[in-house]
C-alpha cells in the first residue's frame, strides 16, 4: 500500500510539472523566449530581406537619380512597353494624371506618383515590384531616377531636382495631409464609433 501511495504522489508531482505554464518551461530563461524555436538572423540577412522603405526613408540605400536619367530608363528598362510612351497610353495602369494640376488631387485619379502621401512609397514600389518579371533587378540609382521622372511628369518636382536618401523623403506630395488616418483599433469594438451598422 505504502509503495502505491508513493507512486501516486510521484504521478501527481509529474502531472503538476507538465501542467506548468510555458513561461516556467522556458528553453532559455535569460533570452525571454518561451520555446526557443527559430533562428537568429544575422544583421546582413536582415538588410538583404528588408525591402520596406517607410515614410522617414531611414532604410533608403545610398545612391542618386535625376529626371533626365529616369526619362531614358523609362524607355530602356521596359516601363514604356506596358505603361505607354506617354505614361497614359499603355495596357498597364496609367502613371500620369490626365487631369490638370488645378484639379483636386483626389479627382485626378489613383496614380501612385501623384496621390501617394510620401515619395518613399513610389521608390519602394518600383524597387520591390518592377519591372514585371524582373523585379529586384534595378539598381538604387535607377530606382531614384525612375522615381524622379514619374514625380516630374506629374508636376510634383522640378526637372533639375536630384533625388537621394536625404531629398526623397522631403518631397512634398500634392495630397499633403488631406487623407484620413485609420482609427485606433481595439478588439471587440464597433468599427466606427457611434455607427450602429
Amino acid at each position: 500500500m505504502a509503495s502505491l501511495k508513493v507512486l501516486a504522489l510521484a504521478l501527481l508531482m509529474g502531472a503538476s510539472v507538465l501542467a506548468q505554464s510555458p513561461t516556467r518551461l522556458r528553453a532559455d530563461a535569460s533570452s525571454g523566449q518561451a520555446y526557443g524555436v527559430g533562428r537568429t538572423p544575422t544583421a546582413e540577412e536582415i538588410r538583404a530581406w528588408d525591402i520596406s522603405i517607410g515614410p522617414t526613408g531611414e532604410e533608403l540605400p545610398p545612391g542618386r537619380g535625376t529626371v533626365r536619367e529616369g526619362a531614358a530608363l523609362y524607355r530602356s528598362t521596359g516601363c514604356a512597353g506596358c505603361h505607354g510612351a506617354t505614361a497614359i497610353d499603355g495596357k498597364a495602369p496609367i502613371l500620369k494624371s490626365k487631369a490638370p494640376p488645378n484639379v483636386d488631387v483626389w479627382a485626378r485619379g489613383r496614380i501612385l506618383p501623384l496621390r501617394a502621401p510620401f515619395a518613399t512609397t513610389v521608390w519602394d514600389y518600383i524597387n520591390r515590384a518592377m519591372p514585371l518579371n524582373r523585379e529586384g533587378t534595378l539598381t538604387p540609382d535607377q530606382v531614384y531616377s525612375l522615381t524622379a521622372y514619374l514625380l516630374f511628369i506629374n508636376d510634383v518636382i522640378r526637372e533639375d531636382e536630384v533625388l537621394d536618401a536625404t531629398t526623397l523623403p522631403k518631397v512634398k506630395m500634392p495630397i499633403g495631409n488631406d487623407y484620413a488616418l485609420l482609427p485606433e483599433w481595439k478588439p471587440r469594438t464597433h468599427r466606427l464609433k457611434g455607427y450602429p451598422h
Binding site: P41, S52, T120, D124, A129, R188, L192
Partner: protein
C-alpha cells in the same frame, strides 16, 4: 398509377430473364430501381490518390469585376466563389475566392526553402522554417475572408456576382502573438508590416493590437496544407479585417512605429476618416444564397431559405429573414454554433403562396451591430437614397431578391 402496373410486371419479368447480364432498355421504366446499378465513374490512380467531385457537380468560380483571370500577362486578379451552390459554412479550398491588388503570378514555393523573418522593433529578430512553426502551439479556427470590393450592384445577375468575393475556411496555424512574444516587442512598437513572397511582394500595415489579439500564421486550410492560390506555405489571417490584409505567401513581418504607407496601404486610403474606419473592420453582413437571383422555384409550397451571415466584429448572434420586402422580420435558425469572424449558415422555413414578393435577410453580431438597408445607410450620411447613392466603405447592406409569380428570382437592386 394504374397505367404503370403492366409496365412494372413486364420489367420484373425481363429483369428475371436478364439476371446476370443486366441491361436497362427503353421499355423498362424507372420503377424497381433497387435492381438497377448506375453507370461507373472511371477512376485512375490520380482519383484514388486524391478524389474528384461528381461529374454532375459543375459549380465553378468566375472572374469578378470584368477583368479576366488569368489576364493578358498571366496574372490572377479577382475570382468569385459560387455561393449560390454553397452548403454549410466551409468553402471548399478549390472554390475559395481569390483577390490580388496588382494581380499576381502564382508562386511555386518549396516549403523546405521557405522562411519567415520577424524583425524591426523587437528584442530578438527570428527566422522560422515551416517545420519550426509546426512545433509551436497551434490553433484551428473557422474564419471568413472578404474582399473590400464585394459590392452588390444593379448589374449583378446572381449571388456569385453580388457577394462571391467572400469565403470561409478552417485555418490552422500559430498565433502571431505567440511569435511576437518569442521575439519580444520593443517600446514604440505600434504597427507591423506583413509581406508576401510573390513577385510583387505585397505588403500591408496593421496595428500591433490586432497582431496580439487574434492574427494567425496559417499553414493549414480545410484539413490539408494551405493551397498555393491561398498562400502556400504560409498566410496571415487577420480575422474580420478586409481581405487585402490577409497576406499570402508570408515571408516577412517587420514591427514598426508608424503606419508604413506601403503600396497596398496607399491604394486603400480614404479622404474621410469615417469612410476609412468603414473600410477596415468588416461590418455585419448576410445574404440569402437560396433562393437567389438566377434560380427558379418550381412552384408554391415549402422551401428552406438558406444563407450566410458574418461580421468582422465577432460572432453572429441573430439572423432575421423577411419574405414580404422588409415589412415583417422573422427569426431564422442559425445552424450549429456561430463562430467569431466566420460565416454562419442560417435557414428559415418559408411557405410560398405563389405570389410575387421580395426576400431579404439581416444579421446582428455580438457587439450589437445591425446590418443596414441601403436606405438606412443613406440616412446616416444625410444623402438622398437614389440611383446615384453608393455605400461608403465596404458595402454590408441588405440584399433584396425579387420572387416573380412564375418562381423566377432576380436581383432586387436591378
Amino acid at each position: 398509377m394504374g397505367s404503370k402496373r403492366p409496365a412494372r410486371r413486364q420489367f420484373l419479368k425481363s429483369g428475371a430473364a436478364l439476371a446476370g447480364g443486366f441491361t436497362f432498355g427503353a421499355a423498362a421504366p424507372a420503377i424497381g430501381q433497387t435492381h438497377h446499378s448506375p453507370p461507373m465513374i472511371k477512376e485512375g490512380k490520380d482519383q484514388i490518390a486524391y478524389g474528384d467531385r461528381s461529374p454532375h457537380v459543375t459549380s465553378v468560380r468566375i472572374a469578378h469585376g470584368g477583368r479576366p483571370s488569368p489576364d493578358n500577362w498571366g496574372l490572377t486578379f479577382h475570382v468569385a466563389t459560387p455561393l449560390q451552390d454553397s452548403v454549410g459554412v466551409i468553402t471548399p479550398s478549390s472554390l475559395h475566392y481569390m483577390g490580388t491588388t496588382r494581380g499576381s503570378f502564382l508562386p511555386d514555393i518549396d516549403p523546405r526553402e521557405h522562411r519567415l523573418m520577424i524583425h524591426g522593433l523587437v528584442d530578438r529578430p527570428l527566422t522560422f522554417t515551416i517545420d519550426d512553426l509546426k512545433r509551436l502551439p497551434s490553433v484551428t479556427r473557422l474564419h471568413f475572408i472578404e474582399c473590400a470590393g464585394n459590392r452588390s450592384s444593379r448589374r449583378a445577375k446572381n449571388v456569385q456576382e453580388t457577394h462571391g468575393m467572400t469565403s470561409c475556411a478552417e485555418w490552422t496555424g500559430v498565433l502571431l502573438s505567440t511569435l511576437l512574444k518569442e521575439c519580444g516587442l520593443k517600446s514604440g512598437a505600434s504597427w507591423f508590416v506583413a509581406e508576401g513572397a510573390e513577385e510583387v511582394k505585397g505588403a500591408s500595415s496593421m496595428p500591433i493590437a490586432k497582431a496580439m489579439d487574434d492574427c494567425i500564421l496559417a499553414y493549414g486550410m480545410n484539413g490539408e496544407a494551405v493551397r498555393p492560390q491561398n498562400g502556400f506555405p504560409l498566410r496571415l489571417m487577420v480575422p474580420g479585417f478586409e481581405g487585402i490584409f490577409h497576406t499570402k505567401w508570408l515571408r516577412r513581418i517587420k514591427v514598426v512605429d508608424r503606419y508604413y504607407m506601403n503600396y497596398n496601404d496607399y491604394g486603400h486610403l480614404d479622404r474621410d476618416p469615417k469612410v476609412a474606419a468603414l473600410d477596415y473592420q468588416i461590418g455585419p453582413k448576410s445574404v440569402i444564397t437560396f433562393p437567389s437571383a438566377g434560380q427558379q422555384l418550381p412552384g408554391k409550397g415549402f422551401y428552406e431559405l438558406s444563407g450566410l451571415a458574418w461580421s468582422g466584429g465577432g460572432a453572429i448572434k441573430l439572423v432575421e429573414v423577411s419574405t414580404d420586402g422588409g415589412r415583417r422580420w422573422n427569426k431564422a435558425e442559425i445552424k450549429g454554433t456561430a463562430q467569431r469572424m466566420a460565416h454562419a449558415r442560417f435557414g428559415y422555413m418559408w411557405n410560398w403562396d405563389g405570389q410575387e414578393t421580395e426576400l431579404q435577410s439581416r444579421c446582428t453580431d455580438e457587439l450589437g451591430q445591425v446590418q443596414p438597408s441601403r436606405a438606412q445607410i443613406a440616412k446616416y450620411w444625410n444623402r438622398p437614397f437614389d440611383a446615384t447613392f453608393s455605400v461608403p466603405g465596404l458595402d454590408n447592406s441588405i440584399q433584396p431578391w425579387k420572387i416573380a409569380g412564375d418562381g423566377s428570382v432576380t436581383n432586387g437592386f436591378a
